[in-house]
């Protein structure tokens, strides 16, 4: 319970960073923290107490794996999510560098003022 709640606290902190900060790089950092917390929450849901990794070893029968293995389905989903997060982060940094080149600042309100 406490672990679930603390990962949601991490989520809220990322969201606060995304909403309240003016700097674009800080906003990107907020999105990264949100991504971490969601991945952690999914993996925490699939954990089984005293469980082993969902990999069949040579000295292990299938029945034993079914008895003790942790949930492999969230792991497969999170694995794709991490790599997608890296691509999206690179795209965001590209946009951010573009904005810096045009307006010479990272400040969001300053960019709004210069544009308007």
């Amino acid at each position: 319970m406490v672990l679930y709640f603390l990962s949601l606290v991490l989520f809220v902190m990322g969201l606060y960073c995304l909403v309240a900060k003016k700097n674009i790089v800080k906003k990107i950092i907020g999105i990264t923290i949100i991504e971490y917390s969601i991945n952690l929450f999914l993996i925490l849901i699939g954990y089984r107490r005293g469980g082993v990794a969902p990999i069949l070893m040579k000295d292990m029968s299938v029945a034993e794996l079914v008895e003790r293995g942790v949930d492999p389905l969230p792991q497969a989903l999170v694995l794709t999510s991490i790599v997608i997060g890296l691509g999206v982060l690179a795209l965001m940094v590209g946009v951010c560098l573009r904005l810096y080149e045009k307006y010479k600042t990272f400040d969001m309100s300053e960019i709004n003022r210069l544009r308007g």
Partner: protein, 197 residues
């Protein structure tokens, strides 16, 4: 075990507080690295070595890309205060969110006893149906390969988007010689090396 996870999670929260509130952008980025590597250790403790490896390597790349964003640019802090109204209202909203999250978490199944109606089938039949003893790879590339196709599409889209955004100026005049100038190769000899690719 639970205590160790709790300590690591509190450590991650402290790291993200430093990342959010510090003035210098470079130290903020390095604090994000601290959070990511702790997350990798947590994945390893939670019985997910595949994700621990991936998270560790991806975190290195995230640090390289974010440092690229901050190191050549002006990384002084923005002096002006954020307007207090938006900060206070967002804090109130997040407080309400946390209260409802605390109520909702109690409705979930307790930690350590997941509901594995589908996953037990996967665990039992993966080695026999797909031949892969790593069940995560079996799910990713055989049972649910459509997900992987979607992931490949998203990655391709982000590459195309990054190339389009980072091009300095759009190409206005189209000529016949444009077909040779698509890439970003500089020297003629580099071009010669890859003639036979």
């Amino acid at each position: 075990m639970d205590l160790f996870l709790l300590i690591l999670l509190v450590f991650m929260i402290i790291g993200s507080v430093i990342a959010i509130e510090t003035k210098n952008l470079l130290s903020s980025v390095i604090s994000v690295g601290v959070v990511g590597f702790s997350l990798s250790i947590m994945f390893l403790m939670l019985g997910a070595p595949d994700i621990a490896i991936t998270q560790m390597v991806v975190e290195i790349l995230i640090l390289v890309i974010l440092i690229r964003a901050t190191i050549t640019t002006d990384n002084t802090a923005i002096e002006r205060h954020a307007d207090t109204f938006s900060v206070i209202s967002s804090l109130i909203f997040f407080g309400l969110f946390l209260i409802f999250a605390f109520l909702a978490v109690h409705e979930l199944r307790p930690f350590g006893e997941p509901l594995m109606r589908v996953s037990k089938t996967y665990l039992a039949t993966s080695a026999e149906k797909t031949g892969a003893t790593n069940v995560v790879t079996g799910i990713l590339l055989d049972f649910r390969a459509y997900d992987t196709i979607g992931e490949a599409t998203v990655l391709f889209t982000s590459v195309v988007g990054a190339f389009v955004i980072l091009r300095r100026r759009g190409r206005k005049h189209k000529r016949e010689s444009d077909t040779e100038k698509v890439g970003i190769l500089e020297d003629a000899d580099i071009k010669k090396d890859f003639k036979g690719f």
